[in-house]
């Protein structure tokens, strides 16, 4: 009896195997015999859990402050009922002028940063210069990127004094880091075969740069600068906190003195400006990408 059952089972197994092969069950078999990665996933999960619980040790919710709910209500009220006088005021206190200054800082900062970044990015690209030099400049760029913009602003304030000019200089330096990173990618993507064919047709150095290199990198460079402009406008709104011009100074003053309707109007202006600039930058970059 026992043997019979075993026989039947063996026959069934064989039949099944044939059937699987015949009907293309290979996929299922491959799936079942695929290397099991569960230990890897468990490990990742474990690392995430450990990291989170470690982080949770310091970050503790201690409830709201005694005035917390009052302040939250104030912020909400201010956003819903912004100070209309301030919104249409044309003096230097008013929202329009502050926004204008913020954008002006970003325009100049991005432009100067974009120009300063060109030599750095060529020097940090290991396709152009030897690996050692490229490495040194890469570290230098990372150094610029790591120092927060507020620190740059505080350093430059010693030179320029607390005004919008300080914001311009700060952003020119800060922008170099990110712009360089994206320029380098653009330079690495240059198709060098075009240069060879220009060489073959007898072009001189200047012509090679003008017709072989510039058409390939200029759209990328402009797109990068516009993207950075988008970021810089946002950044310029906070530079004012340390006194480097822009809307931030007025905003923080109003927040600390709890004038919520003024806070509301500054925030309202900022939100509208930033949305307009984001839409503009997305549109232009889309056009540049299409050529």
């Amino acid at each position: 009896m026992q043997k019979q059952i075993q026989d039947v089972a063996a026959v069934q197994k064989q039949q099944q195997k044939q059937l699987q092969k015949a009907q293309g069950y290979d996929v299922v078999i491959t799936y079942l015999t695929a290397p099991k990665r569960w230990w890897l996933y468990t490990l990742i999960l474990l690392i995430v859990v450990v990291m989170l619980s470690w982080s949770g040790t310091t970050v503790k919710f201690k409830g709201m402050t005694s005035k917390g709910s009052e302040i939250a209500a104030g912020i909400w009220n201010g956003l819903v009922h912004p100070d209309m006088n301030l919104l249409i005021n044309t003096t230097t206190e008013g929202v329009p002028y502050q926004l204008l200054q913020t954008v002006a800082i970003a325009v100049l900062g991005t432009l100067i940063g974009g120009i300063l970044a060109i030599p750095f990015s060529f020097l940090a690209c290991d396709k152009v210069v030897p690996k050692g030099i490229a490495f040194i400049f890469n570290v230098f760029i990372l150094l610029i990127r790591t120092i927060p913009s507020l620190v740059w602003a505080l350093v430059w304030i010693r030179v320029t004094g607390p005004n919008a000019f300080c914001g311009v200089v700060t952003q020119s330096i800060c922008s170099i880091g990110m712009i360089c990173k994206m320029y380098i990618t653009a330079i690495e993507d240059i198709d060098t075969r075009i240069l060879e064919s220009l060489d073959a047709s007898g072009c001189n150095g200047f012509q090679k740069v003008r017709y072989g290199i510039l058409p390939q990198i200029i759209p990328n460079f402009i797109s990068t600068v516009i993207y950075r402009f988008d970021i810089n406008v946002k950044d310029a709104t906070t530079l004012g906190i340390v006194g480097a011009g822009g809307i931030g100074a007025a905003l923080i003053q109003c927040i600390t003195s709890s004038r919520w309707s003024m806070v509301g109007s500054y925030l309202f202006g900022m939100i509208v400006l930033m949305i307009i600039i984001e839409l503009f930058s997305t549109q232009v970059r889309k056009k540049l990408a299409r050529g």
């Binding site: 990291m51 989170l52 470690w54 982080s55 949770g56 040790t57 310091t58 970050v59 503790k60 919710f61 409830g63 709201m64 402050t65 005035k67 917390g68 709910s69 302040i71 939250a72 912020i75 204008l100 200054q101 954008v103 002006a104 800082i105 325009v107 100049l108 990372l142 150094l143 790591t146 927060p148 913009s149 507020l150 620190v151 505080l154 350093v155 430059w156 010693r158 030179v159 320029t160 004094g161 005004n163 919008a164 000019f165 311009v168 200089v169 946002k234 950044d235 709104t237 906070t238 906190i241 340390v242 011009g245 931030g248 927040i255 925030l267 900022m270 939100i271 930033m274 949305i275 984001e278």
Partner: protein, 347 residues
Amino acid sequence: MKQQSFAGRLTVNLLLMAFGILCLWVSMGGATAVVLSVLTVLSLLWAMRTKQMRLANGKTITQPGSRSLLIAMTLVDVVLASAVVTGFDFSVIMRRGNQFFVILEQIFSPDVFDIHFVIDPEGKHAYFLGMDTGIKATLQVFADGFGYMPKVITPLLDTIKMSILGSFVGATLALPFAVIASNNINRSKTVMWAERIILMVIRTLPTLVIAKFAALIFGLGTFAGTVAITVFTFGVVAKMMYESIETIDMGAFEAMESFGSTKFQSFWSACMPQILPTYLSYCLYALEMNIRAAAILGYVGAGGLGLLIDERIGWRDYRGLGTVLLALFVVVLIIEQLSQYLRRKLS
């Protein structure tokens, strides 16, 4: 390529010109503005001029004028206007630029391995290298020798913890909202646009302002910073995610729906495997950004390194500031390398 009509070109060019001239008159006025305005109008005329060309087959075509001069002129207007508004003055940098290097020099000689030799109070420094007092002296050098570094460690860890927790919570919250905001899964246009506008508004709020609000509401400390980072991460990751959800292959999703599985089931089985690598890569990218962003949040009282940065600058202790920045640099370098390695693996 489709050619733009005459009216279309005129409108775009007029808008460009008007924008340039508006910038000039808002910021300066006077003779300079008049001259530049005239030049801008002339460049508009230059851009509108057309060229007739006769092809070999006898057909006549008109080539539209190049817009580059007009764009350049508008850019000049905008830049000059910005220079006036911000009070751009290069001579200030020439005159006082050395001040910058004075501070920079101090920042780049950080207070890390600054060894203060301790002279024995009993005048036994002759025994400095001797066996018995030597050990004590060396230990003392170590205790003093790390300068400002030991005081940096706790806030640095706080910064890292804040960004890890904030990135995790923000990125986790972002996923369902990204699904709602993507137009290929969510069929309700109203909900989608409401969601997108909210996301856009959240992204426009600077992290420091959110941190300031959070510090006022939840009290000073790391919790406020975590809230700010969570909000920031949420906005950024949700936007990047809904853009990439819109590009996935919907075939499997539709097939599963036709079998009768619910929307969630089909999304989980058909779309999740497609977006998971991108999602994880965005999370790591957000973490990278957040470490740098979290470092300055302390400036408005939200915990972390920013407190020290504020304090060191207030005391004009630029060497201490250099130490703080060096610690930050090392951490950012490590985390960036790690995350870039993982992201390469994911793609």
